[in-house]
Structures are given as structure tokens and as C-alpha cells.
């Protein structure tokens, strides 16, 4: 329902209703005494004052109601535009992906301080999110992703007590990629970097990868060239489980025993 103040019933043009001095002819002036005319005028003025006061009261009440509705509507609009609401909508869209990530993060098998855990591409092709494991004491919000960045802002968001830092690529303005970095609200041992755009140049350390490959012989992690669309969360999880097993002396001994047993068996036949 639209409010239209023009339709309000209040008539503010009281001046036309004010008692006017009659331009009377001499005969009628003679008929009514002057004091009587004065009384009529006062009476009319009093009546008009009462009416205007009543209008005043109604206007005040209407204004209070409209203000109340306006502020309620404003609160609703703020709520709909709040980061929490936007985040909730995004969570609904990427619920499954986030579930996968949570499963991965809560897994006991993992890197103690690996460079990069996983890259998740959002619905938009130019926006991507990466999770970096970091020490809780590290408040620098810098992540090693193979590119150089210039910080241009920082702010505190309502949904997360940790500050959010904003960076642009050091090749700016020729490269327009931006990123924002913030410690994860769900798990403070991770920082979340959200990238906007794609770099139009190679990274400073092109050999440093976002994905990690395991060398099972040496049992260490080594960076390899990033392959697009490679490495799902499950794949990284499997790799890390394998890495963990190779570091386990019991497993290594069991594996060695199995292999040597196989050799002995083969030599007999």
C-alpha cells in the first residue's frame, strides 16, 4: 500500500475559514451590536483552533506510524543486504563443496604447515577461493601463492572477528587481479583467499605450485607445475594418507617384509 499524503483528509487551509469581516451595508451594521460581532469572531476562532489542534494530533499520529513502518522496512532491507544473509545464500549454493572441504579439514591426516591445501572454483569462472594452512599466531594475512601483491586495505567484518585484508596484483594496473584474505571463521588454522580475475602473466615463482604432488620414494612433498582442473579434495586426501603411511615405520617395515617375502617366494619358484 502506497502512502499518499495528498489523500489525507486534513485540511490545512484554515485561513479561508477564518472569520472574515463582513463588508456589510450600513443597515445590517446597525442591526448587530459591535460586542456581539466580537463574540462571534472569538467563538469562530476558538472553533478553528480546536479543529487545527485536532488535525495536529492526527498528523503526529500518522507520522509516527509511517516512521515506524519506514524503519521496520529499512531494517528488513539492511538484513537482506547484510554479509550474513549473502553468506547464507552462498552457503546454500556451495553447500556440498563446503561439506567436502570440512571433511577434509577435520581429517587427522594432513600437512602440518603445507603451502596450499586446495583450490575451489566458485560459480563464476573468474572468482576462486583457496584455503591456506597457517599458524594461529601469524596475523600477517600473507599467503604464498606464487604472485606478488600490494595490500590496499583492511577491514573488520561483522561475520568474522579476524580482519580481512585486500590486495591487488603487483602488476596492477596491467593485471587487474584482486584478492581478499581472511582467517577462516570456522577453522582459525586456515586463511581463506578469494581471488577475482585471472593473471595475465606468469607468477613470480612459476615452479611453486598451488597443488602438491607426493614423492613416495623420498616421502616428502615437492612443488610441481600446477595443472588445471587437477586434484579434487579426495585426491589430495588420498595423497596425504599415502604420505602419512610412508612416514609410519611400522607400515614401512610391513611393506618391506611383504616385498622381501615376495622375492623369496619368487626365488624358490
Amino acid at each position: 500500500m502506497d502512502y499518499d499524503p495528498n489523500t489525507n483528509p486534513f485540511d490545512l487551509h484554515f485561513s479561508g475559514k477564518l472569520p472574515k469581516k463582513e463588508v456589510s451595508d450600513s443597515s445590517s451594521a446597525d442591526v448587530k451590536p459591535k460586542w456581539l460581532v466580537k463574540d462571534d469572531e472569538v467563538s469562530l476562532l476558538q472553533e478553528e483552533l480546536n479543529r487545527v489542534n485536532s488535525e495536529n494530533k492526527k498528523l503526529t499520529e500518522t507520522l509516527a506510524r509511517v516512521c515506524e513502518k519506514y524503519y521496520a522496512l529499512q531494517d528488513l532491507l539492511k538484513e537482506l543486504q547484510s554479509p550474513e544473509h549473502v553468506k547464507f545464500q552462498n552457503q546454500k549454493l556451495t553447500k556440498k563443496r563446503k561439506q567436502d572441504l570440512d571433511d577434509f579439514v577435520s581429517s587427522p591426516v594432513g600437512l602440518s604447515c603445507g603451502p596450499t591445501i586446495e583450490k575451489i572454483t566458485s560459480e563464476k569462472a573468474t572468482v576462486s577461493t583457496a584455503y591456506f594452512h597457517t599458524e594461529k599466531s601469524d596475523t600477517s594475512l600473507t599467503v604464498k601463492d606464487g604472485y606478488q601483491w600490494r595490500k590496499y586495505g583492511q577491514k573488520i567484518t561483522r561475520d568474522n572477528p579476524s580482519p580481512r585484508a585486500y590486495f591487488r596484483c603487483s602488476f596492477s594496473p596491467s593485471c587487474l587481479v584482486k584478492k581478499k584474505v581472511q582467517r577462516s571463521a570456522e577453522d582459525p588454522s586456515f586463511v581463506v583467499a578469494t581471488y577475482e580475475g585471472t593473471h595475465n602473466h606468469p607468477g613470480q615463482h612459476a615452479s611453486v605450485s598451488r597443488t602438491v604432488k607426493l614423492d613416495l620414494v623420498q616421502g616428502v612433498l615437492e612443488p610441481v607445475e600446477e595443472k588445471k582442473e587437477r586434484g579434487t579434495i579426495q585426491e589430495v586426501l588420498v595423497q596425504q594418507m599415502a604420505s602419512s603411511l610412508t612416514k609410519d615405520p611400522k607400515f614401512t617395515a610391513a611393506l618391506a617384509a611383504a616385498i622381501s617375502g615376495r622375492f623369496i617366494e619368487q626365488s624358490r619358484t
Binding site: 484554515f14 485561513s15 476562532l45 513502518k69 522496512l73
Partner: protein, 39 residues
């Protein structure tokens, strides 16, 4: 009360009415703008 006092009071109250009416118009406009944003 004397006529002049009544007229003075009437002017004051009607000026207040005018302000209230203007504020109401403004709030109605704002309300309708906000409503359209939501719709």
C-alpha cells in the same frame, strides 16, 4: 481570551501542522522508495 491571542495561537498551531504535513510527505516518499527497492 482576547482575539489577538487566539489568532496568534492559531498561527502557531497551523505552522506546526504545515511542518508535520511536510515531514509526512517526506516520510511517505522515503517509504515508497524503500518499498520499491524491496519489490
Amino acid at each position: 481570551p482576547p482575539t489577538s491571542a487566539l489568532v496568534e495561537e492559531l498561527n502557531r498551531v497551523s505552522a506546526e501542522n504545515k511542518k508535520l504535513s511536510e515531514m509526512l510527505t517526506l516520510m511517505c516518499d522515503n517509504y515508497n522508495v524503500l518499498r520499491k527497492q524491496l519489490v
